[in-house]
Symmetry: C2
Subunit: 334 residues, 2 copies
């Protein structure tokens, strides 16, 4: 009752051309070893002649296997999560899966609509990286029976599976490092958001527990930029701040902090240490090279893909929460 979908011929057309049943053509794609060599050859020729590409909507509907995975990220640019998405995509593509992108972006009000449109596509898995979803959206996901994997954090109440690390532990590790290197007066230039907050909290608590004064904090909207780092440091110093360590919520802002300090003739790390977060590609090339926190985003993506594949194969998962940890990379800046 409609125009056919663009892009082509159908299974039936191929079946007619090859003079076999449509079941046989379906098997050619899905269970090729079931076919005799002769049949295989006939079907292959027909497929090529017609330029047939199977309709995955129909296939997914019939088999209830969509081979679709959705990755939900806050925004595409300047993303720490790039390597995670890339690894996820590479691993899953090899198994015939496609990855859809869900951008929650600035509009948290739209999060629920976004989630509905994702669930509507019946993905076999949803990877959450970055966003903290509003409760209603979380409830929808929980009720959906879809494999959900939260990443880049260790949520207190996981929806389903988790591959991440503790941001509070990161903050504590930075504090331990700061104190071990004789720093006490910290300035924290931090993005908004629960994760940066957790790192801040872990850091401040550990500092204060060891007798250091409470760190001064400046926050700015995510995502963190070079400019944020420069501006925050400039403002702090001009306001009379005398830090001996500056803890930044990303390598971007740490880079800005370094440049601002240099502009003011302040030596790093002699006078002030600078710590980043993320270990982005440029971190080791800066001068001084940046001390920062490395998270292996590839591993997160791969483990998430593994989880997904195991679920779809019906294997049980004994350990639904994986903490991949992190590393403090000590370099020249502190």
């Amino acid at each position: 009752m409609r125009a056919p979908l663009p892009a082509g011929s159908t299974l039936d057309a191929v079946a007619r051309a090859a003079e076999v049943s449509s079941a046989t053509v379906s098997r050619f794609f899905n269970t090729p070893k079931m076919l005799s060599p002769r049949t295989t050859q006939r079907v292959r020729e027909a497929v090529e002649r017609l330029g047939y590409v199977p309709n995955l909507l129909a296939g997914g509907l019939a088999s209830s296997r969509t081979r679709l995975v959705t990755a939900v990220i806050p925004e595409i640019s300047r993303s720490l999560f790039a390597s995670t998405i890339q690894a996820l995509t590479d691993t899953l593509a090899a198994k015939g899966y496609s990855v859809m992108l869900g951008l929650t972006g600035a509009h948290e009000e739209h999060a629920e609509r976004e989630i509905l449109s994702i669930i509507g596509r019946r993905p076999e898995g949803i990877i959450l990286t970055g966003p903290t979803l509003p409760p209603e959206a979380r409830r929808r996901l929980k009720g959906s029976d879809i494999t959900i994997i939260e990443t880049w954090d260790l949520p207190a109440e996981p929806i389903d599976l988790v591959v991440g690390f503790s941001h509070e532990a990161v903050g504590r590790a930075i504090a331990a490092h700061a104190l071990a290197t004789g720093r006490r007066r910290a300035f924290v230039a931090s993005a908004t958001g629960v994760r940066a907050l957790a790192r801040r909290y872990g850091f401040a608590k550990a500092m204060m527990e060891r007798g250091a004064p409470e760190p001064t904090v400046a926050t700015f909207e995510s995502p963190t930029t070079y400019r944020h780092g420069r501006a925050a440091v400039a403002a702090h110093l001009e306001g009379g701040g005398k830090p001996d360590i500056i803890v930044c919520s990303s390598d971007w802002s740490a880079h800005g902090a370094l440049d601002e300090l240099r502009r003011r003739g302040i030596r790093v790390p002699e006078e002030i240490a600078v710590i980043g977060f993320g270990d982005l590609d440029f971190a080791s090339d800066l001068e001084p090279s940046l001390t920062t926190v490395t998270i292996d985003g590839n591993v997160i993506g791969q483990k998430a893909a593994d989880f997904l594949l195991r679920r779809t194969q019906g294997q049980r998962i004994d350990n639904p929460v994986v903490d991949i940890g992190f590393k403090l990379m000590r370099r020249g800046s502190g």
Copy 2:
């Protein structure tokens, strides 16, 4: 013959709960003004009670409108194309479309398989940003009847629609600027790839036509990084190069170039000018601020979305190739 798809109840279940036909429930979602207020209310309640989320696979199959768009990009990280994808997604999401990601990545051999899996989902449009596809993949796309939009370039033989600009013209504009500011001895630090090549070519040709010596070129694998810029400049200077302008294929490498020059005590722009490409967020914050080329990635994304929407509404498109141009942002570095 299969377990039902996860995530839920069906149209029929809702219809039974609301004591209406399934056609009516379908209309509740697709053509709500066709229903009486009473019916609408009854259906709404049933939908909420059951937590029903329509199956878009089934809907797409039945209506041949998938409301799916695929964006093909080379890789997710460090991407100039981020704003394009974001704008595309935002614009389309408002119209009920989802955006799938196709990552062509490093594996050009897999490009065709990737294209097949994209076509198999029957998207209403495919946005190509970045990758130069192998001929066979291009042929598949051309034969697919799907709206194809090539972006960020003006291909000589478009597959279908185009929203981009001329990279050769960018090269010429940089040359004109260089010559106008008295520069003649150019070093070009460039990524591989046809677009960077086109800029290089446009630049070199224009320089030489005005009597300047042939620029020295160093190329490195995409994507361009801060490190590439530093290393290329260091190697060139140590090899005895005496440029008065350094043209970089991205703001990343230009940033690296600036830092390398500063490290060597070379003044910018007095001794050497530095030109970037992309006008990324940090470009205007560097010291000196970076002269670079601005492309409005948002506009590309929006125009691509417009094209798509017009096509799906059956409107004709009189002008299938849109050149959105670019701007040379003159700043402190040259």
